[in-house]
Chain length 549, copies 2
Amino acid sequence: MKLLFIMYDQLRFDYLSCAGHPTIETPNMDRLAAMGVRFTRAYAPSTICGSSRMSFYTGRYTSSHGAHRNNYPLRAGEQTLGDHLRSINYDCYLVGKTHMIMDQAGMARMGIERDSVIGARMAQTGFDVVIRDDGLWPQGVDGVYNQTYSPYNHYLQSKGYDSPNPWHDYANSAVDRDGNILSGWLMTYADRPANIANEDSETPWLTTQFLDWLDEQKGNNHWLCHLSYIKPHWPYIVPAPYHDMYKANDILPANRDVTEQIDPHPVYGGFQQDLIGRTFSDQATREKAIPAYMGLIKQCDDELGRILDHLEATGQIQDTLIALTSDHGDYLGDHWMGEKDLFHDCSVKIPLILFDPRPEADHTRGTTCDALVEGIDLAATFIDATGNPIPDHVIEGRSLLPWIHGQAPDQWRDYAISEYDFAPTEIARNLDLAPRDARCVMVVTKDWKMVHFHGNLPPMLFDLNSDPNELNDLGQNPSHQNIRQQMYTHLQDWGLRMAQRTALSEQDINRMSGQPGRKGVLRGLYDGSEVDPEWIKPIQGKAKIFRPS
Amino acid sequence: MKLLFIMYDQLRFDYLSCAGHPTIETPNMDRLAAMGVRFTRAYAPSTICGSSRMSFYTGRYTSSHGAHRNNYPLRAGEQTLGDHLRSINYDCYLVGKTHMIMDQAGMARMGIERDSVIGARMAQTGFDVVIRDDGLWPQGVDGVYNQTYSPYNHYLQSKGYDSPNPWHDYANSAVDRDGNILSGWLMTYADRPANIANEDSETPWLTTQFLDWLDEQKGNNHWLCHLSYIKPHWPYIVPAPYHDMYKANDILPANRDVTEQIDPHPVYGGFQQDLIGRTFSDQATREKAIPAYMGLIKQCDDELGRILDHLEATGQIQDTLIALTSDHGDYLGDHWMGEKDLFHDCSVKIPLILFDPRPEADHTRGTTCDALVEGIDLAATFIDATGNPIPDHVIEGRSLLPWIHGQAPDQWRDYAISEYDFAPTEIARNLDLAPRDARCVMVVTKDWKMVHFHGNLPPMLFDLNSDPNELNDLGQNPSHQNIRQQMYTHLQDWGLRMAQRTALSEQDINRMSGQPGRKGVLRGLYDGSEVDPEWIKPIQGKAKIFRPS
């Protein structure tokens, strides 16, 4: 079985036509959904790229692996999907983005060389790198954001895109008649075409890189490949013909209410009031950015079509399990916010489609599943798909295969978790929160969603039945004290979970039972008559007399 | 400043004369208490050797480092006292016991060689080993408990104690007139002298090893030495003259009540009913074992006198900080139990004496402190004593120096935690608990102690004011629902603590604030007028026209 793990970046769960979006058309995502199962209540492990991805790649919650936010290193020693897969003779490849920051201090402390095989994999979240390009190469007043090598910029330069940083100057900018760069960072230009040929833009380029790599894998059927796109992540700009496929009248009204701006939760209020929130609260921004965002998704969908066509043409569709998802969503002006960060559905819910070519999955094809599932479940799912046991003392997620094989697990989770760390933000500074206190965690059940904030801040609470649009925060409503108590009980159970005994499995412990006694640790004996005489023989014998009684 | 970290094993907090024991005499522990501060409410991180020690050596809770129990490996990558001290140019030495089990799989995964300097330290909880002897060398029907080399057995053999295992046959056994070994495992022999010269028994031998090492340290004032005794841990047998210093009439009545045996908590009932509980519930066992236990403590005290005399004679007492403690206590028949395991005071409370030679500590000498302190506080205390900042993103304990310098910290913890994992026990099997569910955690405040059990078991609760002997379990008493709720709120806060972001400090994060924007991640701009024009310059320029607008 081959494992194809496709991830988009910042793709909302509800911007697929099969998810009910009325104006966007994603026939290839719909096609994959028709081949497999679409999960309608899938939650990102975290609502920011880096920490969400570290959870996808370890199968663990962000507070378990410690990389809570972008540019927080994944500590050396955390076991990754690559570690697990290689231990069962599967290769684990990367084509695209991970947002991984290596733990240089930890590697130095343990004497792990960056350029050793082990060190290189550790520095790449366990992947063997076909292409690593995180897709963000901006330059600002303090220099460049990412010091590493960009294969994409190298490619563009080789194609004649003449600039030290064609990622910005061509792929993510438009141009006026005089050749002046109109940067995609400025959303007023989002309705213009990126100044690049479509085939050279990021999504088609990465797809070609993947297909070229795939054609070289002849005969090797034991691999996972993480095809990880940067799009439809900002900058919100897309090349022709996608730049004018959608217009202002194709966008949905913002899901927001003026009452959300009245005495909001302090952290939520902070996000409303920062520049991003203010800009996306402006309809002019939405009318420029959202059509570009939809064009970027349409481009992703066309490229997915190339992949599915190729897999079908080569027959590989019959032995390739495909997971399609995103690391988190995008507010796009809903709830008076932009970006992601908090836990309204548009931010924390993710698209998740799972296709298993095997007959066991035949009777669920084209169906949806509304179980509470989490991004960390994919690591367990991939290992399960290989037929090997899941190391559940390390991986906290659970396999989704039972769902697509039509066997609802006997005991599935009754709440899902997502976490967010906003320590390095102005919002934390304005609230005078120490880094360790600038964290929040969402717990969601079938009916309720609560967000707990550290730092002695109140929670947020939404009634998902009576308020599916999450417009009415009941976090401090006296009549919901019991609900909050129930949600805090879930949070308490989760907080006390066993997450760090990663060097010893449940099976290892079962094998330990009773060993000390059989190895001579004879506790609780008064005269030895309490146990089998065999146990006493090893402690009998003769000795020289040093201290006669 | 030199750091001397003295640990005994299974020494009860209340078996020091300075702690009020009416019949035992510990003049040298009392002497150290008169020189420093004795903490009267110090709690072990766990009520079993290995996990408690891994917490002392990492400054972290057992559920943070994952080595919950004896013979659970400390996962490769966990930072130890040795890692922290060496990073500030302090050496970190071991003389005695650690009960460390190395994470061989983790080291192999990271390519760390056991015989490299890094590997050797990782395999020894970060210590450089002067002497490593865990003090338990039994042999049973399935062979030996500990396969590693015993320096102590080697020493005894060199002194003519003729046996493949003189640890058992001489140091921990008596002998009859015919030379038959009377094993110390059988407590009926606990009133006899161990068949060994006192100077060759474990506590004096280890003391001599330490003093010999100390004399070689001339000129090196930047070290921590962990002098770690196995005693007064069982087997309960001690050489002359200590074997008859205490008699049955010197022991205290067992702290227990028949009502404790009526419908006890399932786990507590399991420990009452197992062999150890039954044996120690028998007064005959107590009258044999406890005088020997007291003799072992008396021996420890005399050896402490040798150390203090030597430090004073050499003047080193003036620049040596001394911490004296134990890894946990011993039930000795109290509450119808033997051994440790659960969280009654006799098991979870530990002696803790801290001596700081510096003038800042002068005005607290000879006093006691009743603050809630934990074993994990010592790691922070040692680093603080060197004048270096405590890495509080890794070490969860807090420095005790403010207490002994007479400055009560502004915000001290209002609850203390201890944890226990009983997964490989018959008690867990009898209750049909999966390994991950056979765990419990104690939360204690100034007035209350609650024990939470995983696996849907009820809690235990004690009112420390009205029931200081902890004889009345209120864990299911309807009238204490509010108290339990308060205690669970503490447990919830603790469970959600930040414990794994160990690759990034609070200071590192504060330095990250605002960086992405200054490095060109220009989010939330509509036309650029929102920010300093300087920020826009890097995204302006000229480009070749590929797709004219």
